[in-house]
């Protein structure tokens, strides 16, 4: 077999791999979409579940998920940005810098169920928040923190030196430079990171299972210490533990579709945003 033929064969195999991956994506999304489309309606999104999820909607689960995203937004975004600023601007080659980088790197690799155990031990039990939105929200916040830090760090590190130098040359302090020049420049990248972190938090189930997600509720949560429902867990519960799997199947599909659209929608927004600002600022 000569060299040219070998090359053609190998390259075709590689193209095949890429095709396979795209196919997997299409099949997955396609089946969920086709199964869930029929139940999708405004009523579905705004009604409470009825008759053990054989009728009605998923409103409380949607609300629960949104509340969780809000908590994550409020907690992990500021901490994440502040950490990223510190890592890029203040601490570079020192030992502490390496320790921090290693900590963030390893946090990113912790399995989601282990975060559940953490949340259970610290928020539910030790701090006494109980099985609540707050416990779950804080747990998710810690979980997406590495993601937030990575994204913010990339965005901040991409700010060109010249911007900082110009500011320093005019006598500005470090923080003034960061606040007035670096952060605004890095904002689109940071924003992308925020969207990706929140979307990740919205899709997680395992931590919720250990920090108190409810199967069904009569009413929406009143405060952060109240119990809550959430989309991912709702899917899990219906698909594995409903009393009548066949009857709830349409709603299972539809809920999966809603979650998929939510997460996919956010991911797409993040991707488009990043592309637009990369082109504009030439990352």
């Amino acid at each position: 077999m000569d060299r040219k033929t070998k090359e053609t064969m190998v390259f075709t195999a590689f193209r095949g791999c890429a095709l396979l991956v795209v196919l997997a994506l299409i099949v997955l999304v396609g089946y969920i979409a086709s199964g869930g489309l029929e139940k999708l309606s405004l009523d579905f999104l705004t009604e409470f579940p009825r008759r053990a999820n054989t009728e009605g909607g998923i409103y409380p689960a949607i609300v629960g998920t949104f509340y969780l995203m809000l908590i994550v937004l409020g907690v992990s975004v500021p901490i994440g940005i502040m950490s990223a600023v510190y890592l890029v601007e203040y601490e570079q080659r020192s030992v502490m810098g390496r320790v921090f980088k290693l900590a963030v790197y390893n946090l990113a690799g912790v399995p989601s169920i282990v975060y559940g155990l953490l949340g259970l031990g610290i928020f539910v039990v030790f701090l006494g928040f109980g099985a609540s939105l707050l416990s779950a929200g804080l747990t998710l916040s810690i979980m997406v923190l590495p993601l937030m830090i990575s994204a913010a760090r990339e965005a901040i590190a991409a700010v060109p030196q010249s911007v900082c130098e110009a500011s320093f040359a005019m006598g500005a302090t470090k923080w003034q430079t960061i606040w007035h020049h670096v952060l605004p420049y890095a904002l689109p990248g940071i924003f992308t990171g925020i969207i990706l972190s929140i979307s990740r938090a919205a899709g997680e189930t395992a931590p919720l299972m250990l920090t108190g997600v409810a199967v069904s509720l009569r009413s929406l949560p009143d405060g952060v210490l109240d119990s809550f429902m959430a989309l991912p867990y709702h899917i899990y519960f219906m698909a594995t533990q409903s009393s009548n799997l066949q009857a709830t199947r349409p709603i299972q599909y539809a809920t999966a579709l809603v979650l998929l659209l939510l997460v996919l929608g956010m991911n797409l927004v993040a991707i488009v945003l990043r592309k637009r600002y990369r082109d504009k600022y030439k990352w």
Partner: protein, 310 residues
């Protein structure tokens, strides 16, 4: 993931110790330091919490039996058995099976992306990979539970409908985006002039990839494999819904198994707080954490030690 190949670190702004800093600046720097410490604290908290939760188990059950026992039946009313081996075997069976599928496909994809793809197609494909990596695991699990298991059932007539193969396939799909991202990044960082040198010597494109690009980016590729494997080991929802949750030691992919992650998630629904079972679950969590921690450290070490300098 960008942390591994962080190339954009800027040199320290200050080489001299700062002596004049406004109080407000000091305050801000302190606040930033505290925020950054939160990551270290969080990691410590994870480890500490696991130890705390697992410790009572070490004193109340046969520890050797825990690590070597072949039966996991903690909920038995009279004779509970806490052997972790079935769970470890379950995790490894599913993860290795997934790796076997994900590695060749993921590598093929990365090479295509890094070396062969037309920029316009690349611009569509890369977002597609990102989207794939953003799909919640519960949806993969749902797909496995409802759809893939039926296909496997129709095609292979398995002993049980929910089995290790079901989980392995979907886990492979979840592993591929990580593999592709990290490996492609590694291949892209091989400078163009090395490829030029190879081509100018009369090599074909494939020979250049095989003899120059791949060996040069090997550390990154290995890291990609190790990292994605770590992800598979730590995955919960997909295997929970796909593999049937039967803790047994088996090598038959068409049987139900249970992974460590699934055992923790599922048992916690019924476990009594502070019972032995409760603490043993923390112990399983600790073992799981140590495993994934070791895998991640390994990936980082491989890159650090073996990265080529060109």
């Amino acid at each position: 993931m960008a942390l591994i190949f962080a190339r954009k670190d800027r040199p320290s702004q200050r080489t001299r110790r700062v002596t004049h800093m406004k109080p407000s600046e000091r305050l801000i720097q302190m606040a930033l330091t505290i925020a950054t410490w939160s990551s270290v604290v969080a990691l410590g908290a994870v480890f500490g919490e696991l130890l705390l939760g697992a410790f009572p188990a070490f004193t109340s059950i046969d520890l050797l039996g825990f690590f070597t026992g072949t039966v996991w039946n903690p909920a038995h009313p009279l004779y509970p058995l806490y052997g972790i081996l079935p769970l470890v075997v379950g995790t490894m069976l599913v993860s290795f099976g997934a790796a076997l599928m994900a590695i060749p496909i993921g590598l093929g994809c990365s090479i295509w992306l890094a070396e062969l793809a037309h920029p316009k197609i690349k611009a569509v494909f890369k977002p597609a990979i990102e989207i794939l990596s953003g799909i919640p695991s519960v949806i993969f699990g749902f797909f496995a539970l409802v759809i893939l298991s039926q296909w496997i059932y129709d095609l292979l007539d398995p002993t049980m409908k929910l089995n290790a193969l079901n989980g392995a396939i979907l886990l492979a799909v979840m592993m591929i985006p990580i593999m592709v991202t990290v490996a492609e990044d590694a291949m892209n960082s091989v400078p163009m002039n090395l490829r030029e040198a190879s081509l100018a010597l009369g090599a074909t494109r494939w020979e250049t990839i095989r003899r120059v690009v791949l060996p040069s980016s090997l550390s990154g590729i290995v890291a990609a494999i190790v990292l994605s494997f770590g992800r598979a080991v730590g995955e919960t929802m997909t295997v929970l819904m796909a593999t049937g949750n039967t803790p047994v030691i088996t090598s038959d992919y068409l049987r139900s198994v249970q992974t460590m992650t699934a055992a923790i998630a599922i048992d916690f629904g019924e476990v009594e707080f502070y019972s032995v079972h409760y603490h043993v679950l923390f112990a399983v969590g600790l073992v799981l954490f140590v495993m994934t921690f070791a895998i991640n450290i390994l990936a980082d070490w491989v890159v650090r030690r073996y990265k080529e300098d060109y």
